[in-house]
């Protein structure tokens, strides 16, 4: 399979921190023309669909407000709501486990699978298990986990990392998928073509065998209801429903922030989520389960509540709104940076605008004691032009631009604890000195006119240093002969 190389090429050491800072990682992904074409096509299609189905709801803005308000309430009452959830899950025959971090969560899940004597599990697409690297952990423990979501299966077979929260294989086109199936799926039919129907049927046959034999299923959760102990998964393909109903044991790993207080709140997210994520009025399959029901569905249910940096994020009054995220991916589909660089450039299972504010917080980057200049995730809050399209698209109104600016402030603060100032720090300090006085600024503006010596004619071409990137593709106009203030004093004396 010459064309199907895993992306990124090296297996990541950490699901939230793959290695290179954003500008360097983007350098690599920007060079991949096929990936950029795949992405541009896919994001535009979803973007247009989302706009159509949100525009047809007269109360869309009110729904967004309701979603934001519920999430705000959840964050304010999180400890009490979690205890309520635990009580209700337990009362209905489920078991609740608490995991401080990825290691603890992985150990809990592994022990549960082992206790059932299983060495194979089926999985419902889940960001929480991606975040803790569960599949890799299970593999190391001799347990095979099969992803049953079509896109997730493609990523798993190709040895890729996901590049999108909702459409993890968004960077692949049909022909690449055909090659992945033909080369890596043992029971792929001979002579498979790139026809979407053929590809889907091949995956279906491959997965059906797994559904019917697996004793344990592992899922994430789109939400859980504190009041009733109900857990929900919203999906498109029905493979989730198979996992959630056929195996004897179900283990759900859920971030502690993904709950709602009452059953009535589900209605808000049942509208917001599908319209924002897939551009559908309603997702085809919504599965809700409450504990266990004798003779129906899994007879053993375990809910693993995962912190993994979430309480750290909750402690930050501006940044905590990243925890409101319902993983719809609308921000990725509208982000011009994501569209050009793709998800892998963010070096985390959470890419795009939400990833840029969530990943550094889950890792605690920028907080006291950390050294952000050594940490690739410190570059993430800067990987945005602050155009605001993400905020406009977010169904729960997460003010991503403001959170980005706030986190930039934290990264800079951490950087300033270093003994030597960076070039940026020096430049910003001198600029501030000039910009706090009209008269000093006037002098600087006149001096800027001296920059004309660097110009040939009315523009400046290629420059070295920090301006090299800018001037490699753009001309810079020569500074004007006269600053505005000089013109103004002339104008004022003419007027008199």
């Amino acid at each position: 399979m010459p064309n199907v190389r895993p992306q990124p090429a090296h297996a990541p050491a950490h699901p939230l921190r793959w290695g290179e800072p954003f500008p360097e990682a983007a350098h690599e992904t920007l060079a991949n023309g096929q990936m950029r074409r795949n992405l541009a096509h896919a994001t535009r299609t979803i973007r247009d669909k989302r706009l159509r189905v949100t525009a047809e709801l007269p109360d869309w803005e009110a729904l967004r407000d309701a979603g934001a308000a519920i999430k705000h309430q959840v964050m304010s009452e999180l400890p009490a709501l979690l205890v309520e959830l635990e009580r209700n899950v337990t009362a209905r025959g489920g078991h609740v486990h608490w995991a401080r971090d990825a290691e603890e969560a992985n150990r809990i899940v592994t022990d549960l699978v082992r206790a059932k004597g299983a060495d194979e599990v089926v999985k419902v697409k889940s960001m929480a298990t991606q975040e803790i690297g569960l599949n890799e952990h299970l593999e190391a423990e001799g347990i095979t986990a099969t992803e049953t979501d079509l896109a997730e299966l493609i990523v798993q077979l190709a040895g890729d990392m996901p590049s999108h929260v909702l459409v993890p294989a968004i960077h692949r086109n049909r022909e690449e998928i055909r090659e992945i199936f033909a080369g890596r799926m043992a029971d792929a039919p001979a002579g498979l073509t790139g026809e979407p129907r053929e590809l889907a049927m091949a995956a279906r046959a491959h997965l059906r065998a797994k559904f019917l034999t697996a004793k344990v299923a592992i899922s994430g959760a789109n939400l859980a209801v504190a009041e009733t102990g109900t857990v929900a998964v919203f999906e498109s393909e029905g493979n989730g429903r198979m996992c959630l109903t056929l195996p004897e044991t179900l283990v759900t790993v859920m971030g502690i922030e993904k709950l709602v207080p009452t059953f009535r709140d589900v209605e808000v997210f049942a509208q917001l989520l599908p319209r924002s994520s897939t551009g559908e009025r309603m997702n085809p399959y919504t599965t809700l389960w409450t504990g266990v029901t004798p003779g129906d569905g899994p007879q053993e249910f375990h809910l693993v509540l995962l912190d993994n940096g979430r309480t750290k994020a909750l402690a930050d009054e501006v940044g905590r709104q990243a925890l409101h995220c319902i993983r719809c991916s609308a921000c990725m589909n509208v982000c011009p940076v994501y569209e050009h660089t793709g998800g892998h450039a963010y070096g985390s299972v959470y890419p795009g605008p939400i990833g840029a504010i969530l990943t550094p917080q889950l890792l605690g980057t920028g907080t006291k004691g950390s050294l952000p200049h050594h940490d690739a995730t410190a570059s993430l809050p800067f990987a945005s032009s602050l155009c605001g399209a993400c905020y406009e698209a977010c169904p729960v109104k997460i003010d991503i631009p403001t959170a980005l600016v706030h986190l930039r402030g934290r990264m800079v603060e951490a950087e300033q604890r270093r003994p030597l100032p960076t070039g940026w720090a020096t430049a910003m300090r001198s600029a501030a000195a000039v910009m706090t006085s009209g008269s000093r600024f006037a002098v600087a503006a006149r001096a800027a006119g001296l920059g004309r010596v660097a110009a040939r004619g009315e523009r400046i071409g290629r420059l070295p240093g920090p301006l090299a990137g800018w001037t490699s593709v753009r001309d810079v106009p020569a500074p004007p002969r006269q600053s505005f203030r000089q013109w103004w004093s002339q104008h004022e004396s003419e007027e008199r």
Partner: protein
């Protein structure tokens, strides 16, 4: 009306044609324009780069320079920039609050209430859409991100442009996508920014326009710099320059594109 001009730091130093055109336009419409000399910058550059503490004295200077509006010395403040107005409205008080300076936050919010982006001032405050301009060129308009999503200028600039005599206004495909400037983003993430401006410029060229206009010179510098390097012959003009242009005093481009300059005598 007595209108105080906030020229903005980038226009003052690099693109004086925008504040000059703003002055000429407002004076032609019969208003008195004043230039508070204490002004420098709104603090956006420091804020958006993460130097929030350093932004505080910059914000303090801006608020002090424009505080006389609160005593009724001027009727309004205008800036030829959606981005800087956005920062004045949505960032200054936040920056002050962050360091616990409640007084500054209050004053900044009060000054912001009197501060308008040019198209807002013309349409909402002065009640105009036809400002009597003449601009016989094919023009396309890029709504800059901060005008669009922070200040919400809506279709005000387009209403003003449609009323210009002689103009041939053409729609820009994917107008609402970012041009890739983003202040220091264009330096820190130069390659991504270059990809974004490349796409924007392809859309601009597809319109066949001679002039690309917007309400922010920072974005125009980004797109204009790429158009110039391409040798496309498309030049840029701030919305204020188009609205200031008349039959008697027609617009003169300050930053000629490469190809156009080659044929200049």
């Amino acid at each position: 009306m007595r209108i105080a001009l906030f020229a903005t730091c980038i226009a003052e130093t690099m693109f004086p044609q925008a504040p000059v055109a703003t002055v000429r336009l407002l004076e032609r419409l019969g208003h008195e324009v004043l230039f508070p000399p204490g002004q420098a910058c709104c603090g956006q550059m420091h804020t958006n780069t993460g130097y929030l503490d350093q932004a505080v004295p910059v914000v303090r200077n801006h608020v002090a320079a424009f505080a006389p509006v609160l005593d009724g010395e001027w009727d309004a403040i205008v800036a030829p920039s959606g981005s800087c107005v956005g920062s004045v409205r949505h960032q200054q008080a936040m920056v002050a609050d962050r360091v616990g300076d409640r007084g500054l936050a209050r004053d900044a919010a009060a000054v912001a209430e009197h501060t308008y982006e040019l198209s807002e001032l013309l349409v909402d405050v002065l009640g105009l859409t036809d400002v009597g301009a003449h601009f016989p060129h094919r023009v396309t308009y890029h709504p800059t991100c901060h005008s669009l999503r922070m200040v919400h200028v809506g279709d005000r600039p387009l209403r003003l442009l449609r009323a210009v005599d002689g103009i041939d206004l053409v729609d820009l495909p994917e107008a609402e996508s970012c041009c890739g400037f983003g202040g220091t983003f264009a330096l820190k993430n130069a390659e991504t920014s270059a990809a974004m401006v490349g796409e924007k410029v392809r859309n601009v060229i597809s319109t066949g326009a001679e002039v690309l206009t917007a309400g922010d010179y920072s974005c125009l510098m980004n797109m204009g710099g790429r158009l110039s390097r391409h040798g496309t012959g498309v030049t840029v003009a701030h919305l204020a320059e188009i609205l200031a242009s008349t039959r008697e005093a027609p617009w003169e481009p300050a930053f000629l594109p490469r190809s156009a300059q080659a044929v200049k005598p």
